[in-house]
Symmetry: C2
Subunit: 232 residues, 2 copies
């Protein structure tokens, strides 16, 4: 897909309908385009915060700590807007899970321009608050749950975002590897694998192929996830 087409996709999803042509053009002027193959880090941050729109595909935001340890901070799918920190106590990088098309802006200029368009800042704020809410939920999962509860939480969350319902369960096609899941949940790949086997043995899911997962009993999974609403 060409850059103008992708920018239109961004405009349709993020900009308010009544955005002026002028603002449209100014934004397009600071926008950069990147297409990445699975596994690539599609752009260099050069120390400045970036705002990234995932036009197609899926990506992960990875934080790096000392000793090569990685933490996946968030996953993103087509239509998501991501704020990528340029510098912080930990180094961040955005990385493609599947082949991916991205539009990205220097954060400062983007927010500056946004201010002059009624409704645009509100849209970005709305997305930021939802990202904050997800990050907080993740905090609970990382801080206070067992390996099995972590995996159950992950599967429930993913089924809400990219699940396809069928008969009496949910079909998931996960673009991320076991390693990515582990890096997201603060677990090793081995522990993730063991918990998958455990849930499979309990009849809660099937794994017909590497990336495909069938969740057979959402009620039970939600209970295992330790969500307060599902518990006593």
């Amino acid at each position: 897909m060409t850059f103008p087409d992708l920018f239109e996709r961004f405009a349709a999803q993020v900009l308010p309908p009544k955005t002026s042509d002028d603002a449209h053009q100014r934004l397009q002027a600071i926008a950069r385009y990147s297409s990445a193959r699975a596994g690539d880090a599609p752009f260099k941050e050069n120390g400045k915060d970036q705002i990234v729109f995932v036009a197609s595909g899926s990506s992960k935001l990875v934080a790096h700590a000392s000793l090569g340890r990685q933490q996946v901070v968030a996953f993103h799918f087509a239509g998501d807007l991501v704020s990528v920190p340029g510098s912080s106590a930990h180094a961040y990088s955005l990385c493609a899970l599947e082949d991916c098309e991205l539009i990205y802006f220097p954060s400062a200029e983007f927010l500056q321009l946004a201010q002059h368009e009624t409704g645009m800042v509100a849209e970005v704020l709305d997305r930021a608050l939802r990202a904050l809410a997800r990050c907080r939920e993740k905090t609970v999962t990382l801080g206070r749950k067992t390996a099995q509860e972590k995996l159950a939480s992950f599967l429930v969350t993913m089924s809400e975002r990219i699940g396809a319902e069928f008969a009496q369960g949910v079909d998931l096609d996960l673009p991320m590897s076991r390693q990515d899941i582990g890096d997201s949940l603060g677990l090793t790949i081995e522990t993730v694998s063991r918990q998958f086997s455990d849930l499979r043995a309990q009849g809660l899911l099937e794994t017909p192929s590497r990336s495909r997962i069938r969740l057979l009993d959402m009620k039970a999974l939600e209970a295992k996830a330790g969500h307060i609403r599902a518990a006593a």
Copy 2:
């Protein structure tokens, strides 16, 4: 302090200088005031998201999971703006650490009014993005660090927010208990205590009283925190 005085404090810190009297009054009309003693949960959420301004004192945002487990999602100090979720996979509540004065608004109405004031949404967005950045940093800490690294990270972060520099160290007066620190780091109170003792034995800090902590070697603490910038 009276409600009008507190609201002015909110206005001075959050509203743009050129905010109209009209908007000022509309905001004041939906604002609620609460003063809480240490340990209290100052308001009921009634299922709707709230925006809370901490006018004085300090507070914690607590998420509740099943089996009575608690996770402290964030700490707040005077001048902070907090978004408190009304309903989610986990139940949230805001709780006073010290005696506290709060102004709170129903989130939906607050954001609705904010849209009409140029600059106000931008201010709220800026704060939301900083909250998101802190939450992400916390994610790394919870997911990929040992107990000692977690405590070191906590102390470094707190010294940046409420530390008072002296000679060649930083003086901290922590308003939260060891239990709160544990709930924030995903550790038990015993482990927190042991790590304090350990860091004390290494000569990195002194604890002259329960709440007061002297950080004697910030460089070493930052290295222990596992921040990428301090490491190789």
